[in-house]
Subunit: 295 residues, 2 copies
Amino acid sequence: MQSYLDCIPCFVRQTLQAARFVTDDVGIHERVLRDVLRRAAEMDLGASPPVMGRYIHELIRRFTGNDDPYRTVKEHFNGYALKLLPGLRVKVENSPDPLEAAVRLAIAGNVIDFGTASEVNESYVSEAIEQALSATLPGAAVGQLRKAIEQADEILYLADNAGEIVFDRLLIERMPLEKVTVVVKGGPVINDATMTDAEAAGLCELVRVVDNGTAAPGTILEICSGDFRERFQAADLIISKGQGNYETLSDVTAEIFFLLKAKCPVIARDVGCQVGDLVVRRGQDTCTNRGPAQK
Amino acid sequence: MQSYLDCIPCFVRQTLQAARFVTDDVGIHERVLRDVLRRAAEMDLGASPPVMGRYIHELIRRFTGNDDPYRTVKEHFNGYALKLLPGLRVKVENSPDPLEAAVRLAIAGNVIDFGTASEVNESYVSEAIEQALSATLPGAAVGQLRKAIEQADEILYLADNAGEIVFDRLLIERMPLEKVTVVVKGGPVINDATMTDAEAAGLCELVRVVDNGTAAPGTILEICSGDFRERFQAADLIISKGQGNYETLSDVTAEIFFLLKAKCPVIARDVGCQVGDLVVRRGQDTCTNRGPAQK
């Protein structure tokens, strides 16, 4: 997905929010903001939004000298999600359609996103869980995903954020584990999950986990490691979590299912849904859950 | 008032909104936005926000070749306010304190501001009137204003927006008319009132009306005409309407009363009030209506 003019005010707003989240040093806030303004003035709108997101957060890490400024919130939400996990697993197992329930909850976890929101808290996550369990889900796409999981030999599961990755376990546990490879980011960027978070989530004991070789809030294939790109080519099913992965992979030709919560109007327009909708979208198929977000 | 870092995302957002309001040409939206990003990257935060506002809207007029893109909405809101005027005048005359009622309504008219809002409609104005009539007003400042009006020999009334300028009549009509000079902008910028709007509001038959020689959404003294600056020096009472005039004159030493509705958090913080509050502030005095906006 390209960047839109609407993304630009949002980049600028997010830059200031993120700089303030990471440091109280007003001088750094100003330096980061001015640098991003200069960059945004010349940016290629053909590039996806995470290209700019990567730039912004690399800048913040460099100016603050803090290599992983979201470490505390990542740990917090991993811990919080792990506390919820047993109860959520019961919900999945007691559901008439456990796979669908797991998809709903994996998408609910996608609200733990410090890239789009300036603040995420536990009650926000609880509300997202409740909403996800009753929201409209595109039935056809879920059916296709079910079939694809049954038929695939190599499933690549592209994780999104820390905390969220614990919710992903619910879905991963419903797949043939030996066929699954989970992919995390190659370095810290916002609260995106890295290997540390996969370990905290207990995923490393369950399935193969690799990183994509880059610290971008999405999957920018051109700059990912050769190893990751080979896996991406070889997989016969890719499950892509979150907005950043959607933004960077929506134009790629592959058997790919995007699972995310639409958190901004630009994404919602691109997907063909409403802000707040749960999205299950196969490749470039039209989204089928248009209409109100709730049943 | 200086510009704050928080103003920058707002400038960028307003640029895109304003460009879209004025033209459907996406190429122009992009050119204006990129130019403003470049400018914002280098801007002097010591300059007040209307310095950037002036730049943005000058750019939009130049790129679109439209010298007065807000003419239609200015006419619309002049007309709408003129329809309301007789009823509002009755409210003022029947009020136990007509001057205070006129101050409230003049401030209510300040919501007709296309600089801070992307859309203003009639029901929004009606609500502002109702709110203004019952909101908390800083009593001490109103008392000082009353006294200043009684004692002044030369009153300079700095108008803000078209439409709003009709509401200003209610207050101006309560002053000794021969002592009042109303000031409008020297050229079109956003929906700020120019001489055309003062005429439409019927002010030119009532009092002396002059322009300040510039097309900035505020009163940037250094670039105003010599004639205006002489009047500004000579006046023994200045009544300044709206955010833009506050932003550009809040640090000037003069007998000046600011009447405005606080429409953004940066202004509210600078004034010492809440967003939505009616502000009557004498010079650099501390605002006295802290607390909830409504009684």
